[in-house]
């Protein structure tokens, strides 16, 4: 087989297709991927918006919640992808995949492409639920930006958790690690509540949390009212974090059996 006959885009597409077939073989996984974050948004958005008397950060609680849930949804996809790796490793197909005519970057790229596709579906479901059910006022001019930013929030978590799942070989150890990271990142961030009035130590940790950076960016795009300089700084930090996570994932994949 010549390299021209199997160009990089086809290799990446083949990996993404395999991931799609794998995930669509189980509707439980699909439900988890697509509906679980929407359930969070609807339950918390509808419930807490009526309980809270005062609006948060100049809007309803549903409006405040939407960017955070969009980022959390991408994080959930990354968690599911990392668990799928354990399934693949346990039945041996993961190592067989590594003997296929793909570069390690193709392998990662294909899985990321699948996550981006699922992320796009998820984001559409979430944004539609927010606009039509919770009456979140996202202007039409900001919708595309919000959608793209939600997708851009996916790669860092995908690469990071994928690399961690390769390196932490034991399932029980990974479950502990993932719960700490997932919940820790969610709770020490502005996903569910504003952090401006939190203790200084809390804010310090939250500002070092990549989830905070992407939630801030999404919130800025959706509703404005944030400092451009701060958003640019957070976008830069996020891009650097994504690049570092990609390199870590690539190295982990290259040494998966060492």
């Amino acid at each position: 087989m010549s390299a021209a006959a199997f160009p990089p885009w086809r290799r990446v597409a083949a990996v993404a297709e395999r991931e799609t077939r794998f995930r669509f073989s189980n509707f439980g996984w699909l439900f988890w991927d697509l509906c679980y974050p929407a359930g969070y948004l609807l339950a918390l958005g509808a419930g807490l918006s009526h309980l809270l008397v005062a609006d948060i950060a100049g809007g309803s609680y549903s409006s405040f919640l939407l960017p955070g849930i969009l980022v959390m949804a991408g994080q959930t996809l990354a968690v599911n992808s990392s668990w799928a790796l354990f399934t693949d490793r346990d039945n041996g197909i993961f190592f067989e995949h590594l003997t296929y005519p793909l570069t390690r970057a193709n392998f990662l790229g294909g899985r990321l492409l699948f996550n981006l596709g699922m992320g796009a579906l998820q984001s559409l479901v979430l944004i539609a639920a927010a606009i039509f059910v919770l009456r979140v006022p996202v202007g039409p001019g900001r919708l595309a930006g919000l959608f793209v930013a939600a997708l851009a929030a996916i790669p860092l978590w995908f690469f990071f958790l994928f690399a961690a799942a390769i390196r932490i070989r034991r399932m029980d150890a990974y479950a502990t690690f993932q719960n700490i990271v997932f919940l820790g990142a969610l709770l020490i961030s502005p996903v569910f509540y504003p952090i401006d009035r939190m203790p200084s130590w809390f804010r310090a940790v939250a500002y070092a949390n990549p989830l905070t950076w992407s939630v801030d960016i999404l919130r800025g795009i959706a509703f404005g009212g944030m400092h451009v300089r701060r958003l640019a700084l957070e976008a830069g930090a996020y891009a650097a974090g994504t690049a570092a996570a990609f390199v870590w994932a690539l190295r982990s994949l290259r040494t998966a059996l060492r």
Binding site: A5, F6, H97
Partner: protein, 315 residues
């Protein structure tokens, strides 16, 4: 001159763990000519699988020179992977996909156009008796059947170099025979096959050349006959006499047998030497005694294997 598709020189792989170093592969060297069937034989822990993992780009060697299809598996892993197909030891399958989708995904991930896959698939399915399970999920198949799917996949492709790690383990005799036959065909087509096995009968029937490894080192190498001659150079003769042979022990003593047993006019004796020596012995024996029947057999590859790894008689 044609460069061998697989070249391994002084290959070393050391695993470092909490309990110290393990030299899984300790200075292996071999070459596999194009279109040949090469067998890596050895007991568990001999270093066969580690060697295969290095050749298939899964593991980096600690030191040594390795080339597959002319490429370095460490620096040019992608180029190596474009030339190979591998069946690893685990029963690897896309568990949650149907058998048919297992084939399609495999071919797709190897860059094979769908129309080629559709054209080849019916023959592969028929040969491996997978027609009735095509729409079943791999996870629902027996281990032997899953192994059959795993091995059958490589016959969808035209990869010039195949690596098979204990490929027929867990298969029933019919499926095993089919796989061995297909592997032979592949070699006849000019493709190169490197396989590991613990099944001596399989290696004896299949391989052009074998390398016996123990503790990561080569202990015997060559074609099956020469390894057998070198490491188990005895012939076993079973003779039946018409009447009790008088003075037989004295007669046999001149031939220095490796072992001998005699009961009920039946003699079993193991002699060193060639088949011509055995013929001379039989001629002398039948000139002196009335021989009713005889049978001569050479040592099996299993005998040679056990001798080579130091587990044979008297070792």
């Amino acid at each position: 001159m044609d460069t061998p598709p697989v070249v391994v020189r002084d290959l070393v792989r050391v695993f470092r763990g909490k309990t110290g170093e393990i030299r899984a592969v300790d200075g292996l060297s071999f070459e596999v000519p194009r279109g040949s069937l090469f067998g890596l034989l050895g007991p568990n822990g001999a270093g066969k699988t580690t060697s295969l993992r290095i050749l298939t780009t899964l593991l980096a060697p600690t030191s040594g020179f390795v080339r597959v299809a002319g490429f370095d598996p460490v620096r040019e892993g992608f180029a190596v992977r474009r030339s190979i197909a591998a069946v690893l030891q685990d029963n690897a399958s896309e568990q949650f996909l149907s058998v048919k989708d297992n084939f399609r995904v495999y071919a797709r991930l190897h860059g094979q156009p769908s129309e080629d896959t559709d054209r080849r698939l019916p023959a592969v399915v028929e040969r491996f008796g997978l027609g009735e399970v095509l729409s079943e999920k791999a996870a629902d198949l027996s281990i032997g059947m899953r192994r059959r799917v795993q091995v059958a996949k490589i016959f969808l492709l035209d990869s010039p170099i195949l690596f098979l790690d204990e490929a027929t383990t867990g298969m029933d005799p019919l499926a095993k025979r089919e796989v061995l036959e297909r592997i032979r065909e592949i070699a006849r087509e000019g493709r190169t096959v490197v396989l590991t096995t613990q099944n001596m009968d399989e290696a004896e029937r299949l391989c052009d050349e074998i390398l016996i490894v123990a503790h990561g080192r080569a202990v015997a190498r060559g074609d099956v006959d020469s390894v057998k001659r070198l490491h188990a150079p005895t012939l076993e003769l079973r003779i039946v006499f018409d009447e009790d042979p008088q003075g037989l022990p004295e007669f046999l003593a001149d031939y220095h047998p490796a072992s001998q047993t005699f009961a009920d006019r039946r003699l079993t004796i193991r002699l060193s030497g060639s088949r011509r020596d055995a013929a001379n012995f039989l001629a002398a024996l039948s000139a002196r005694y009335r021989v009713a029947d005889f049978e001569v057999s050479s040592a099996s590859l299993e005998d040679a294997f056990l001798e080579a790894i130091g587990e044979g008689d008297g070792k």
